[in-house]
Amino acid sequence: MKFVFTMWKKELRSYFVSPIAYVFLAAYLLIAGLFFYLGVTLTGEASLRVLAGNLAITQIFVLPMLTMRHFAEERRQGTLEMLLTAPIPLWAIVVGKWAASVTLCAIMFAGTLVFPAVLAYYGDPDWGVMLTSYLGLFAVACAFCAAGLFSSSLLDDQMAAGLIGAVILVPFWLVGRAEALVPDEWADRVRPLSLLYHLDSFNRGVLDSMDIYYFVAFTAVFLFLTFRSLESRRWR
């Protein structure tokens, strides 16, 4: 855990000493603010449901941009070999970098806490639903950061890594939309693959063990693939 913490600290510092985190944070809050304002204007409801659904989809494109630099940048600077040969377990490097991205996401979410405050001022929101909506967004962020990290481990070019990250994630969004195109008997099998299907319960105030499993498994699989991808450099 010591190595994970060291890695986490290093990555987080690298985010915040450069303008990246701030530009990213500003862009994210701008998009979130727009979604929130539109949601409030169109529905007049004291709820984050519109915001949470749209932010989750936005994260498909935004989070790979956040994680794209992790390994691609190290490779570009020629520090990856050094990092991989340092006396730090490989899994600690992967988890540390992932945890740093997730922490940045948590800070981004903290920046949106003004929205519940606004809802509480003008209405009577359901705090239980609000809490689970944030948990859902956090679960999505954990999963997407893992996928983004994996794409970063594959390619040398940052932009390409970011793009591939989004390409990996888009099918998990579209599969929910494709449900209507497949025969009924297939729809039940396809549905559990959909990201929105698993996020929906969170936005209704319900914590479902299978939704939690989906996001935990999603994260674990991509962290594992990242680990294998980096490990492959030893024998390639």
Binding site: L29, G33, L34, Y37, T43, E45, M210
Partner: protein, 484 residues
């Protein structure tokens, strides 16, 4: 093949295989864990939890193992409140689909999947079709949503679960029982859609497989011997305007004597059927009032539910039954032999029977020298045994309501508990005690109280403030590092 390539191939395929196995384990884990799914609802209203009664019905349907299909069609996009209607319907469909293995529920976009609509013969947006074998129940938008309040307080409530619940009852019931509403003496008409009609009650009972029919004892006899029809599961007498002739009252007593149940609803100052005296029920002069009232209506005391199978579920769900202008009721003390009475609705301790006197600010006051102190009874039940001398077969059940409006179109769908109260009262009367349940737990949308001006200010706070602060902090960090 050189040894290096061989080694890379072997290690590469091993890595790929392990990755595939990992994905398969995860998928297998999902399939394995799904039957042990756990859900916890954190919402304040427990909105995703189905009512106990709905769950019971789903269990019965599962036992029967006859597949049930629910097809919910979307509301018309662009129409006011379509977003909320679709969302609430979608949530309900998902919850029912999750809760039962024999019920297949799906939400269908009416515009995109016209073929599905055509196949089911659905022509209206927002229709829900529930099919079980050959049987089918269609729920329309008006069955699923209702508006409550006036002006700025007007809000939409979703009654979807209650409607689907009733549709399940309808599909499970094998035969329809007839409830007759006595007419001919100025009573409320079961076919009238006017505020003082009973058409809403008829519709609600129809969903429960009870058919509400008019009964004119004299005219229906067509010159023959008048009598209550043999197929009558119950007879209701709601607010007669003139005294029911002695002959007809005797016919009602004969019906009761044969085990037939009766329901009477009267109003203050209205006609009181003389047979009340035979049951030991008195209707004292005055009107029931209470400090606890439905603001701003001084004649609408908030009834308290007494412990009874009819009101048990209503009390637990804290659904208020609206009443308007209530006549006080009194059961004989000590009770008549063979008659057991039970209070259904009464006022709080601050309630009283108003008998005139001074007004304060336009509202009546309790004046001990004129009025009678509460709690005052607003509705009661009677169970008549054979030793009462009034019943020869079975057990006679009678319900007396001190208000007729609570069953009328004006209040039945307005009050959160009226529909359930009315349906439950009928269920109890006809002996369907097992089906007593809440017939509606409406869920409403939590709206914001925002003005145009608020929205203008909000725009800058939610869109501009966050990014601006982030950029300012970023600029500060950047400039401090540049200075080093």
């Amino acid at each position: 093949m050189n040894r290096n390539l061989q080694r890379r191939l072997a290690t590469g395929s091993n890595a790929a295989l392990v990755a595939v196995i990992m994905v398969l384990i995860v998928v297998f884990g999902y399939v394995l864990l799904e039957p042990f799914r756990i859900r916890v609802d954190f919402s304040a209203t427990q909105s995703s939890r189905l009512m106990e009664d709905t769950q019971n019905k789903l269990r019965i349907l599962e036992k029967d193992a006859i597949p049930v299909k629910i097809t919910a069609f979307s509301a018309q996009e662009g129409k006011k409140e379509a977003y909320f209607k679709n969302r609430q319907l979608q949530d309900l469909v998902e919850e029912i689909d999750y809760a039962s293995s024999v019920v297949e529920a799906e939400f269908v976009d009416f515009d995109r999947e016209r073929l599905t609509a055509e196949n089911l013969g659905v022509t209206e947006y927002g229709t829900v079709v529930i099919q079980r074998g050959e049987q089918r129940v269609d729920l329309k938008d008006r069955d699923l949503f209702r508006h409550v309040g006036k002006g700025a307080d007007r809000a939409m409530e979703f009654l979807g679960e209650a409607s689907v619940n009733r549709a399940f009852s309808q599909l499970m019931a094998n035969n329809t029982r007839v409830v007759y509403a006595l007419v001919g003496h100025g009573e409320m008409n079961p076919e009238s859609r006017e505020p003082d009609g009973l058409s809403d009650l008829g519709k609600a009972l129809d969903q429960e497989h009870y058919e509400l029919k008019r009964l004119d004892l004299v005219r229906d006899a067509k010159g023959g011997v008048p009598q209550v029809p043999e197929d009558a599961a119950a007879v209701i007498v709601v607010r007669p305007r003139v005294q029911i002739p002695a002959l007809e009252q005797e016919l009602l007593l004969a019906y009761l004597s044969a085990g037939g149940p009766l329901l009477f609803a009267v109003d203050p100052g209205g006609v009181i059927p003389e047979i009340f005296g035979r049951f030991g029920v008195a209707v004292p002069e005055g009107m029931v009032l209470d400090k606890l009232l439905v603001f701003p209506f001084p004649d609408r005391p908030v009834p308290r539910y007494r412990n009874h199978p009819i009101t048990e579920a209503l009390a637990s769900e804290t659904l208020v039954t609206l009443v308007s202008g209530v006549a006080p009721l009194q059961a004989a003390v000590p009770p008549r032999e063979g008659i057991r009475s039970a209070t259904l609705l009464e006022t709080s301790r601050d309630g009283w029977i108003e008998r005139g006197g001074e007004l304060k600010g336009g509202n009546a006051l309790f004046q001990p020298e004129i009025d009678a102190a509460g709690p005052a009874t607003m509705a009661l039940t009677l169970e008549l045994g054979r030793d009462s001398g009034l019943v020869n077969r079975g057990q006679g059940r009678v319900i007396v309501l001190g208000d007729s409006d609570m069953l009328s179109n004006s209040l039945l769908t307005e009050g959160p508990g009226n529909l359930s109260f009315g349906v439950n009262a009928l269920r109890w009367l006809v002996g369907d005690d097992g089906r007593l349940s809440v017939s509606g737990r409406p869920s409403a949308v939590r709206k914001l109280a925002l003005t145009e001006e608020d929205l203008g200010q909000l725009r800058w706070v939610v869109i501009g403030l966050g990014p601006l602060l982030a950029m300012m902090v970023g600029a500060a960090v950047w400039s401090s590092r540049r200075g080093r």
